[in-house]
């Protein structure tokens, strides 16, 4: 059976479809405002006319590529092309500003590929167990998971924790705008239909990161133009590769576990992984200045979450992410209903999916290395041309999301606000953290209370584990700081 599946995948046509799909995915992922979900929804009608295995494999290639593609714009332009690459820009952009864009892309490539492979291996080996685990996550568990994610505040606030809290609070405040799903009361919408569905975080991300950077580059004319150094190594230097291997295990573990949960996904996986990397590092203060560990933590985790998201989809038919929901649609069109039955009735197809996903990871390696030398050329473009082009990309990207000029407005406001926040020392990452995790915390907490009161948040076993992890994440850096102070005083 495995051999037959191998034969299906390793034909010229199939390989071309997977590699083509992932190339398309990388482009979709790299362009701000275009997401994996969108690219896949647009390609869906095309797959109607293909045999199931071909269509599904192309979509899988696209999905894999799109999750990775966001890293390009995050590294080169400081605009996370897709939500899961928000954390990548924290170290990727500073690194490329030092002239090491090629190195950053290579790191992201290797990290993504390894993370992706780990995710698929987990999918193949322990899918049914993981699926059971995902079902045990109810509103109470998601509430505490959001708190756990919020503990990353320490990792992303930079020097001042107080400013970090200010940033997160701002994000949480913005996330409360819109129709309240529990009471049907509009909050801070001022009668606008646009605001009823809330402030979408993608235009905010584009503004806070991308446009704010453009503004600061225009105003700070004294700043030197971007230097561009060619990378000396074709792939990765030995020491960088060792760093990838070191960061790989925890990051892919986090990516898989969070990816499996239908209520979380790649973005939250990369936040938690980045946080873990900061806390376990000997030099946490170096994160955010452009170090390899930051890129590896984020990119490995978000690609590992792809395999994770496939677990509940294939075993229970519950999509773990919005792109997985489209895959569900693609399977349905071909009369294939995911679930435990699919494993017994269509073992051939399941094997083909596994092998195809694996091939898709290697396509990342090819595209990543092929572009690691070329892509940084974009930074050699003169600033007079480059900055307006980025600004235009910000506008187009925020419009493309919902075809809405309102979102362009949100992006502009966020961009200007982001510039001043940066001046005040509030990192944009903290605002995004609040914006993503705020609603997850609020909705799940209120849902828990509606179901059975607040007790499960403190009594469910998974919650208790998450509370302990949260405590470690917060107390550990504080203890370390105290110890450092003690050493200094002695």
């Amino acid at each position: 059976m495995l051999l037959a599946a191998l034969e299906t995948v390793f034909t010229l046509k199939m390989i071309a479809l997977i590699f083509g799909g992932s190339a398309l995915g990388i482009i979709v992922g790299a362009l701000p405002g275009l997401s994996a979900t969108m690219g896949m929804a647009l390609m869906l009608p095309v797959t109607f006319y293909m045999p199931p295995s071909e269509g599904i494999l192309m979509l899988l290639g696209l999905y894999t590529g799109a999750v990775f593609g966001g890293a390009y714009s995050a590294i080169l332009l400081n605009i996370p092309g897709a939500p899961p690459s928000v954390m990548t820009s924290l170290d990727g952009y500073p690194m490329s500003q030092r002239g090491e864009a090629g190195r950053a892309i290579s790191l992201a490539t290797v990290g993504s590929t390894l993370g992706g492979i780990a995710g698929i291996i987990a999918l193949i080996i322990i899918a049914p167990i993981l699926a059971r685990f995902a079902l045990r996550f109810g509103p109470a568990e998601y509430t505490v998971l959001a708190v756990f994610g919020l503990s990353a505040i320490v990792a992303v606030s930079g020097k001042s924790l107080a400013r970090g809290f200010a940033g997160v609070s701002l994000g949480v405040l913005l996330s409360t705008v819109g129709m309240d799903h529990f009471t049907n009361i509009s909050r801070f919408t001022f009668g606008s239909i646009e605001l009823m569905s809330g402030i979408n975080f993608i235009p905010v991300v584009i503004g806070l990161f991308g446009l704010a950077e453009v503004i600061s580059q225009i105003l700070e004319t004294a700043k030197e133009g971007v230097i561009y150094k060619t990378i000396k190594h074709l792939f990765l230097s030995r020491s960088d590769f060792l760093k990838v291997l070191k960061g790989f295990l925890p990051a892919s573990f986090i990516g898989i576990v969070i990816g499996v949960l239908p209520g979380a996904g790649g973005t939250i996986a990369s936040i938690i992984s980045y946080n873990q990397a900061v806390q376990s590092s000997k030099e946490p203060e170096k994160f955010g200045t452009g170090i390899p560990e930051g890129i590896i933590a984020s990119e490995t985790a978000n690609n590992a979450s792809v395999g994770g998201a496939m677990v509940p989809l294939l075993t229970l038919g519950v999509p773990g992410s919005s792109p997985a929901a489209i895959l569900l649609g693609a399977l349905l069109i071909h009369n294939l209903r995911p679930g435990p039955i699919l494993f017994t009735t269509q073992p051939m197809l399941i094997n083909t999916i596994f092998i195809g996903l694996m091939v898709a990871q290697f396509s990342l390696l090819l595209w990543g290395f092929a572009t690691a030398k070329i892509a940084p050329w974009i930074l050699a473009v003169r600033r007079e041309v480059m900055l307006p082009a980025i600004a235009l990309l910000c506008v187009v990207g925020s419009f493309a999301l919902k075809n809405s000029f309102f979102d362009v407005g949100i992006m502009l406001v966020s961009g200007i606000a982001g510039f001043f926040l940066n001046k005040l020392g509030v990192k944009p990452g903290t605002v995004i953290l609040g914006l993503i995790l705020g609603p997850m915390f609020e909705n799940n907490l209120r849902s828990t209370i509606e179901i059975s009161g607040i007790a499960p948040v403190f009594t469910s076993p998974i919650c208790i584990v998450l509370w302990i992890l949260t405590a470690i994440m917060i107390l550990y850096p504080i203890c370390r700081m105290l110890r450092l102070k003690k050493c200094e005083s002695e």
Partner: protein, 324 residues
């Protein structure tokens, strides 16, 4: 370079827009049709519309360009379609929210502000419990709820959603009270919560619950359609179990008011043919969704009746609000 290309593209688009002056109906359609979806890419309305449009454009001879304008559960798209030029080149789809928005003060318009092209799909509500739940039948469930008011926890979307109204209709008719847990993510979270033992039951359309039902994790107590759903002949309706509860979430295609009759007819024929296409039928059957092909008259009659039902129900549950 990028700039120049974009400029050229923009210029071409402008010229194309200028050239496409209003056309006569007998030539309709002689250019692409815009189909507005009021929900995000990848959602239920989006997927079903993409499959349907891919088939319908074969019969129309012109491409259908899908534009997503999510906002206010379709409200933004409804307003936009109603204000478009009534020439058949701007259409879009609805869900049951076309009959709730105007009674909840969201937007002042409902189906009467449109020409309804076709009703192409219906997803009835259904009630699901965990595989090993104590209730074997709907009757046992309802009687238990009567004994223990506000104790049985049922997950059912946000207030005012069609999902929730289906559950509340049962409450009103039987004079019972559940403890309803809102789900910010809509009804799709419900079946997972039931399977994981986090809630006692959930209200969700069969299309949403099918995966976990097929996996044997959850079990239906009844479906709120008049007759059994084709894809689930084994699930009894509420009606046949003696409960007069019928609740559908239907999808229509809308054109702006004043679209010529010939154009609406032509669209109807094309979309009706699309609902019969192999791809669409396969997709809907496998998802567990019902296919309909009601024409303008039948759709309008249905929507008028639905308006009455929803208005009364919203008044009973205290959500009724006059739109400004």
């Amino acid at each position: 370079m990028k700039f120049r290309k974009l400029t050229v593209l923009f210029a071409v688009l402008c010229i194309a827009a200028l050239l496409s002056a209003p056309t006569t109906a007998n030539a309709y359609p002689d250019r692409p049709i815009t189909y507005i979806i009021g929900w995000a890419t990848g959602g239920g309305s989006d997927l079903v519309s993409r499959v349907l449009c891919a088939e319908a454009e074969k019969h129309l001879g012109q491409p259908i360009v899908i534009v997503n304008r999510p906002g206010g559960s379709g409200a933004k798209a409804y307003v936009e379609i109603s204000q478009a030029r009534p020439d058949g080149y701007t259409i879009g789809n609805t869900t049951g929210t076309i009959s709730t928005h105007k009674f909840m003060g969201v937007i002042p318009i409902g189906h009467e502000a449109f020409e309804v092209v076709i009703t192409f799909n219906s997803d009835p509500g259904a009630l699901w419990v965990k595989k090993d739940a104590p209730w074997k039948t709907l009757e046992e469930f309802v009687e238990d709820a009567r004994k223990r008011p506000e104790e049985i926890v049922v997950a059912a979307s946000n207030p005012g959603s069609i999902t929730r109204l289906g559950l509340q209709l049962l409450e009103v008719k039987e004079d019972i009270k559940f403890r309803i847990a809102s789900q910010a993510g809509g009804e799709s979270a419900g079946p997972g919560l039931v399977a994981g033992g986090h809630v006692d039951a959930c209200q969700a359309a069969p299309v949403t619950a099918k995966s976990l039902y097929d996996a044997g994790e959850i079990r239906p107590l009844g479906v709120q359609s008049e007759v059994r759903v084709d894809a689930f002949p084994e699930i009894p309706t509420f009606m046949e179990q003696g409960y007069d509860v019928v609740m559908h979430n239907t999808r229509q295609i809308l054109a702006p008011k004043g679209t010529p009759k010939e154009v609406v007819d032509k669209l109807y024929q094309a979309f009706k043919a699309a609902t019969k296409s192999e791809t669409f039928v396969k997709f809907m059957n496998e998802s567990g969704s019902m296919i309909l092909d009601w024409d303008q008259q039948k759709s309008t009659e249905f929507l008028t009746a639905q308006d009455e039902q929803f208005k009364e129900l919203l008044q009973q549950v205290g959500l009724y609000k006059e739109a400004k």
